[in-house]
Symmetry: C2
């Protein structure tokens, strides 16, 4: 009897809008109803609930294992940055100061100097680096931290994509030569791309930011950008070649092998919890989220289809299967107060990649039913083939999600030949490829006239003769779109 | 030639005071010279460098695996707490407000309401819990987060033991009954004790805080306390039975199975990076730190003893051994600019539990030399027995460190029969066991007259007839000492 009541409540739990009709509302509902995140009474700050945080833990584990293999180590630097230190690099402070949250008081005491809550940690970290680095033997220095960041933006907040506090990792490395630093910045971007494409199943465009869009204080910023279903780009991670822009004001110097004092070369790089938002937005459908198997904490949910007569045997078998499939960390949903249908909906909403059903007939036939989250395909699988089938199906889901997103990206790139076509394509929410002069002035006009920004100059850019927007000479084509 | 120069620098890197002569200076030097932590220009805030942070990562991994097995999940709640929310539980706000760092401005904008930087997260978390919990089916709710915490103390800071920012985990659970909540609080304490005694090799006293020493807002606080070489106690972790003290002001209510609305029962509990300080202080000696093997990132350092003639063969063998012992994550120190002696000192300073030396004679005899960090015992080991010997030796080091610390704790507990003996023992930096009336007034007198505090009432306390300090009736004996 409980079942009927519960079924009635289902509509409250499901999504009431379609992804293709109102993406923004669909996303906000999904994030809350599938319990990825929730709003709090701190404006613009969210709770990351277990369904989201376990994705973050998996991202941490994957990325840590990559960078630890190449000699990077994790550390923790203070949350606060004294105002005088924060202001040491001019472009940097101008870029971040408008969004800084300031500590002015501790208890009843007014502090002598205000403290910035880190919007990024270059300045507090490089003060220590200037003490620690003396000789070429101290290089390279390859450190990383996983921390919370505060940027008090006044734009409309959006779960994961734009919040005033978020979690990220920030790597900060120091090298003896320009070449080594550049190699590091590019190496890290390649690891970011591997993480995002091969685990999160999100294809990206890769390249360099224009001087107007680069990180404040960097010499060059390398980036990967994904295209969201809205046609807006999402910056998925950036890796900065800092050159000597920080080592000079911070005095990060070393004695080279031949005894000469030199300024060091640096990089910094980061990815954040916005990646979780990208997963939800790119892969989700009208039933809920779809978490790519390689990043999902639980790869499948086992739902016993229970009738009074066979209940004991079914539950016993379900537990056996759970044990057998433990490498996939399955959820066994044996709650008695919910119907199978209710459970199907719940795990679909939360995005578990695969469902395993087992009922009395399956028990007889020594089989189970696998249902894919991505295309809802059902398949009867003999028990003896189960582990292999689950593995194969998960791999197929992973691949399908990536290919689907890749197709979307490709089919939404438009190469334009004129300013008119440029504006039309941006208005149609496309990712636009266009010859561009790369002058700051022209970049500013594009921004104000079209609301699009330059997303990146691809690594192997096609040559171009003139700028589609201003007509001046251009060397190469680059990408423009609206962005989050 | 480089070697000689390097050797000269050694005294700069080593400790210049003895642990038994000036513990405080020894600790401060060790923390910095072994690169566990460093000061920053933010007063009272430290950098946790890789040598310390990897211990923290291991603690996280061990504790996560314990609590995830029992159904706890990790989350992330905002760093900031609006002032009105922070003030919702009276005892709680009184306990923490004097140390709160306040955000008043973002960019140039003055905030309408001040935001507290979390000194602990009960209030911001329980606001969400009051929204999420509706029915007995939502219980128990078992969440935990690993975050940074700010408490702007004005006492003298000490690396790891008292810093204005530190890292911790805080668990926050909600239960349907008082009994379940009490069981949870006690279960977590038992996991803390297992972590600290069996991994960190630090013996603790276990019990309950007095009403005067409990967590502000708790019904009861359970604690484990270790004795530092100074004779001061260090609180190593606490687990609070919150009762309904927060569920009432925050409105955390649920419908019970028989349809009655009830206030929930709660716990909260935490351990912090101060544990790293305890490891260094308890186990270290005059050569440096000693990291217990079960918590050490690298269990051994391999030092090839290289002469020109045999260099190639020795290095080849050293790499072979590194591969063979990879489950112990060894460091192979094949740097050519340092002498073996220099390397011995460096890894002793940093506390690597075991050293493996291999020189030309060892190569001939198909053996290596193992040197224990704790007692410096050397042992020649045949290559064929290496893995087994390393495992055995590490276990023996782990056990020895614990037993040595246990002996110290036991021999520094003094049971007293009079106020005079009490004061004398406290002055001699002992852990004092005494009959105590448990009246707040008497507790205050003891604090002001002796500078000792009540550390805990043991779980199976011995009965007592009267209070050693005031002479009034007492039920049981409890522990007093000075504390960090």
């Amino acid at each position: 009897m409980a079942c009927k009541k519960e079924e009635d409540k289902r509509s409250l739990l499901g999504l009431t809008v379609k992804k293709e009709e109102d993406l923004s509302e669909w996303f906000t509902q999904l994030v809350q109803k599938a319990q990825f995140a929730d709003y709090t009474s701190v404006s613009g700050c969210m709770v990351l609930r277990p369904n989201a945080f376990q994705i973050w833990e998996n991202i941490q584990q994957i990325f840590n294992s990559k960078i630890k293999k190449t000699g990077h180590k994790n550390v923790y630097f203070p949350l606060f940055i004294p105002e005088h230190l924060f202001e040491k690099e001019k472009e940097h402070v101008e870029g971040f100061e408008p969004e800084v949250a300031w500590i002015t008081h501790a208890g009843d005491t007014k502090l002598r100097e205000r403290l910035a809550v880190r919007p990024t940690s270059e300045t507090i970290i490089y003060e220590s680096y200037s003490k620690w680095i003396r000789s070429h033997r101290d290089l390279p220095l390859l450190l990383n931290q996983w921390v919370n960041i505060v940027r008090w933006e006044f734009k409309h907040p959006r779960p994961f994509l734009r919040t005033r506090e978020f979690l990220w990792q920030e790597g900060h490395t120091v090298h003896a030569t320009k070449k080594e630093a550049l190699n590091e910045a590019l190496y890290i971007l390649s690891e970011y791309v591997d993480l995002v494409e091969n685990y999160l199943a999100i294809p990206v465009l890769k390249g360099k930011k224009t001087q107007g869009e680069k990180f404040p204080g960097a010499m060059d910023t390398f980036t990967m950008e994904a295209l969201m279903p809205s046609g807006k780009a999402l910056q998925m991670g950036t890796s900065h070649m800092l050159g000597q822009n920080f080592s000079k004001p911070f005095g990060i110097k070393f004695l080279s092998e031949n005894g000469k004092e030199q300024f060091a070369w640096q990089t910094s790089w980061g990815i954040s919890t916005r990646l979780i938002g990208a997963i939800i937005m790119v892969h989700g459908d009208n039933r809920g989220a779809i978490i790519p198997p390689r990043i999902a904490e639980h790869k499948l949910a086992i739902i016993p289809i229970v009738f009074d007569k066979s209940k004991k045997d079914i539950l016993k078998k379900a537990r056996e299967i759970k044990e057998k499939l433990k490498e996939f960390n399955p959820i066994l949903d044996d709650r008695e107060i919910y119907s199978p249908g209710w459970k199907f909906n719940e795990w679909e909403l939360k995005g578990i990649p695969l469902r395993l059903e087992i009922g009395p007939k399956d028990l007889e036939k020594k089989q189970v039913v696998l249902v894919r989250r991505d295309n809802h395909a059902r398949k009867e699988v003999k028990e003896e083939n189960l582990e292999k089938e689950v593995q194969k199906t998960l791999e197929s889901i992973q691949r399908s999600l990536f290919l689907k997103a890749k197709k979307f990206l490709k089919s939404n790139i438009v190469e334009v030949k004129s300013k008119k076509e440029f504006i039309k394509a941006i208005n149609e929410n496309k990712m636009v490829l266009a010859g561009f002069c790369e002058r700051g002035e022209c970049e500013e006009s594009i921004k104000s006239e079209t609301s699009a920004t330059n997303r990146l100059i691809p690594f192997h850019a096609q040559p171009a003769k003139k700028c589609i927007f201003c007509g001046k000479p251009a060397k190469r084509k680059s990408y423009f779109s609206k962005a989050y």
